[in-house]
Symmetry: C2
Amino acid sequence: MKTYLDCIPCFFKQALYSARMSKASKKTQKAILEQLARTIQKISLKFSPPEMARIIHKQMYKLTKEYDPYKKVKLQSNKMALKIFNKLKRKVSHSQDRLLMATELAIAGNIIDYGAKHSLSVDNELKKILNYENKFIKKEGERLFNYQSFKRVLKRAKTILYLADNAGETVFDRVLIEEIKKMDTKKEIVYAVKEKPAINDALIEDALFCGIDKSAKVISSGVDAPGTVLSLCSKEFLKLYRKADMVISKGQGNFEALSAVKRPIFFMFMAKCPVIAREVNCEIGNIILLFKGKK
Amino acid sequence: MKTYLDCIPCFFKQALYSARMSKASKKTQKAILEQLARTIQKISLKFSPPEMARIIHKQMYKLTKEYDPYKKVKLQSNKMALKIFNKLKRKVSHSQDRLLMATELAIAGNIIDYGAKHSLSVDNELKKILNYENKFIKKEGERLFNYQSFKRVLKRAKTILYLADNAGETVFDRVLIEEIKKMDTKKEIVYAVKEKPAINDALIEDALFCGIDKSAKVISSGVDAPGTVLSLCSKEFLKLYRKADMVISKGQGNFEALSAVKRPIFFMFMAKCPVIAREVNCEIGNIILLFKGKK
C-alpha cells in the first residue's frame, strides 16, 4: 500500500509521540518535527507507510540517541497480556467454535498498537476484549472476514509462516497458535518478528517472554521497519516466505507492507485509521480477516 | 496562547482538509503540505494558533486560488441551525433558568467548528444538542463554568461586545443575545465577526443571514484569522473592545488569540482538542464559561 497524503499529519503525530517516549527535551522534539518537515519535502509517497516510518524513526534516533523508546511499554504490554492469558484460553475452550474464537481474539489483540493509536490504555483495551459479548468485536461479514477460506487453507497447510505485529499482541497470537497446534501437532509454525526496534513491534525477546516458542519456532524477518517490507527481509526469511503453505500476517503495518504482493496471504488486523478503513472499505474498529492472492 | 508542538500535526490535517474543500488536485494538495512543511521550519511557535492558521491559509489560497473554501459549508450550517432556531427558543422558554439554558446552548453551538473537528456532521451534532438531557452538555462545575460571575457582570453591563466564532453557531448566539435583550432592552450588544474568510468563521453575511442584526449591531473586527488577534483588528473595533462594559468571546480560536490579554473577558467554548483541554484542565467535549482578567 502506498502512503496517502492523510498519512502525513499522522507521521508528525507519531514522531512527536515517539520523541516524548524517548524523553527528548522540547527543543529536541521541535528539531525532530522540523527534520521531519524537511524529509516530507523530499521523500516519494510511493514508499509504503512502514518504509516511511522507518526513515523517520531512523532520523529520530540520531537526535534522541534512544534506540528503543518503546522498550518499557512493550514489556508492560507483554505482562498485562500474559496476566489475562488463562482467561483468553478459557474463552476459547468455552466457545462453540474454538478456532473462530481464537482467531477473533488474535485479531482483537491487534488493538495494542502504539503506531496507530499514539496514546493507549492497554489495560482498558484488554478489559474491553475480555468483556466482549459480540459487541466489542465488530465484523463486516464474510466480505472482510474470510473465515471459511482461512479454515480450509489452514487445514491443509503443513508449514505456516505467522508474521507478528506488536508486543503484548504476541500473547493473543500464542492463543491462536496453540489452537492451530491442537488441530494437528505436526503443523510447523514459524513466528517471525522484527529484527530491530520499530515502534512497539514485537522482537525476539517479546516472543520468548510471551512463550510463543512453546508451540512455534521464533525467527526474525530481518526487518527494522514497523511492517514486513520484503526488500528489507533476510534471505532466510524470504526462503521461508516463498515456500510456506500459508502466510498469516498480523497488523496494519504488515498489511501496508504486503497488501500489493502476489503471494496469497491471510491478513488479520483491526482497522485503526481512516486511511486503512477506506483502503479495505470498512469502519474503524472492525476486525478484518482478509485473504488476498490466488484463492 | 502560544502554539504547542501538538498543534503542528493538526495544522497539516487542517491544511489537507481545507485543500480538499478547495477542490485542489492531489498534486496541489501535496504541494500545499510541502509548502506547510517549509513554513513549519521557519515560523516561531510564539505566534498563537490562529496567527499560524492565518499564515498557512494565506499561502494555501495562493496555490488553490480559492478565496473562501468553506463558503458552501458555512451556508449549510447557517441553514441547518436556523431550522432548529424555534426549537432552541422553546428549550429556553421551557427551562427554569432561561439565561442559563441560553448560555449553555450558545456554548454547545460551538461544536460547529471545522477548524478543530476537520470532518463534521453538523446535522448529527445539532440533533445531539436538541436531545440533550444534561447528558450531551458536560460541565466541570463552577471552576470552569463561571455562571454566577457571568450573570452578575451581565446584569450591570450596558455595552456588550460579543465576539463571534463560526457560521451556524451564530444562530445559537442569536438565542443568547435575544435572551440578554429580554433582560433589558436598553443593553447595547455589538456582534463582531471576521473581516475575511477564515475556515468556517462567521462573516457579516452569516450574521445577517442568521438574523443577529435584529437584536445586535453587527460589525467586523477587521481580522482575517480564525481568532480575534488584536494586532490585526481595526481601530474602530479596538476602541469598542477597550470601552465595552463586558466582552463575551466565543470559540477556541478567540480563546487562543485572547487568553493572555489583561482585559476581563468571558470565554465561552467547547473544548475540542487535547491541547485546549490541557490548557484549561478539562476534558474534550466539556463546555466552558471561563472568566479571565480582573474580577
